[in-house]
């Protein structure tokens, strides 16, 4: 599904990476090891060298915004650009069932973003990306600020999406979580990728 060849930027790479359809891969590594750099490079948010392909089609052939709709990056700390929650969603009706699935209130659309808690914002950002039906999900610590129940809800949702064919690259510091959600794990050290033991 997603394939990167000799991807490099600054301290990152060269990285070769391949994600199959329906596969969840855990990405582990110390802070500053290049996890975020790698995800940004895959989402085409920074200029970098190397090739990235989606379903055997070169990234260059995509209109950049279309690429990012298909290869969605959800950063650890999501950005917001309007006052209320609903303004950040292209289709609220599509998002609503996902919002309820993650245990958020169905009337959170009218909330001020600044009023939502860290954990609420984290889940909203996840739904915002997922509701555009990406083929590949790049999740940067998607459950770091969540309580146990919300973590389980997020894990269930992602497993369901993977079951439906989405590829997921999931950054986590939690080895137990990596073992739970992913079929294999990668380790990134000083920008170089290796299969985790």
């Amino acid at each position: 599904m997603l394939e990167a060849r000799k991807l490099s930027r600054l301290t990152l790479g060269p990285v070769d990476l391949s994600l199959e359809a329906g596969e969840v891969v855990a990405l582990r590594g110390a802070s500053g090891s290049g996890k975020t750099l790698l995800m940004r490079a895959l989402a085409d948010l920074d200029p970098c060298r190397g090739d990235v392909l989606l379903d055997d089609v070169e990234r260059r052939a995509f209109f950049a915004p279309d690429w990012r709709k298909a290869v969605a990056w959800v950063p650890a700390e999501a950005g917001w650009w309007s006052d209320t929650v609903i303004e950040h969603f292209t289709d609220w009706q599509v998002a609503l069932p996902l919002i309820e699935e993650l245990g958020l209130s169905p009337d959170c659309g009218g909330w001020q973003v600044s009023r939502a808690s860290t954990g609420e914002r984290q889940r909203l950002a996840l739904v915002r990306a997922i509701s555009q039906q990406p083929k590949v999900l790049l999740l940067d610590e998607p459950t770091s600020g969540l309580d146990r129940q919300s973590v389980a809800q997020v894990e269930t949702l992602i497993a369901r999406l993977a079951g439906a064919g989405a590829s997921v690259l999931w950054t986590t510091h939690d080895e137990d979580q990596a073992a739970r959600v992913a079929s294999r794990a990668l380790l990134i050290e000083n920008g170089k990728l290796a299969a985790a033991a």
Partner: protein, 263 residues
Amino acid sequence: MNYVQLEYTDLALASLLVLANAGLSLVLNLGLARRMLLATLRMVVQLSLVGLVLKSLFAVASPWLTGLVAVTMILFAGREIMARQERRFDGLWSYSLGTGSMLFAASLVTIFALTGPVRPDPWFDPRYALPLLGMILGNTMTGISLGLHTLTTGLVRDRAGVEAQLALGHSRNEAFRPIVQAALTSALMPIVNSMAATGLVSLPGMMTGQILAGVDPAEAVKYQILIMFLIAGGTSLGAVVAVLGGAWRLSDQRHRLRLDRLK
């Protein structure tokens, strides 16, 4: 024309106000006296030189010399725009974006004024061309530097929000729109405010000057209205070119935010 000619002794008399100010600063220990006297001295020397330069330019009325002075004025204004930026563009862009936008806007509007509504003979007559350019330039410069300042600081401050939109597949135009709008608003605010307040709160300098020189106030007002139109046109044209050019420079073909192109 009948107007009260000023003697040097009259200026000396008025300079007592600045001296009194400096004295006050010394008494209150504000530490401003030196700077104030220096600025005063610069003002007197610069204006006297400009007076001499203008006098000889008007006498010669050469298109080349007038053009040269105009370009020099624009280059100085460009330096001023760059110096006022908290975050500058990298490389040649830091100077050329502001200067280029101003060169384009100010020269277009000045030439339009000279060949359209004012029509002196010859059209480049420095007695008209240089004061018109000066007034347009001063305001366009403020507009462009405010616009670029709001654009660059806004993109740096709202980086997470802009990148969130890009990551969700919004185009750079969509993602930059609120900040570009804010930048253009702040660029045009001074001229909009001054048009709204003029006549009620303030009497513009040029109109006052003409009235002092004996021109019928109704005629002076006509000139002032013309100047306001020119300033509004020059400022919006220059600000649009500079802000859109800056937004273009801070993004790329792949719709990425390129803050690495700021120093």
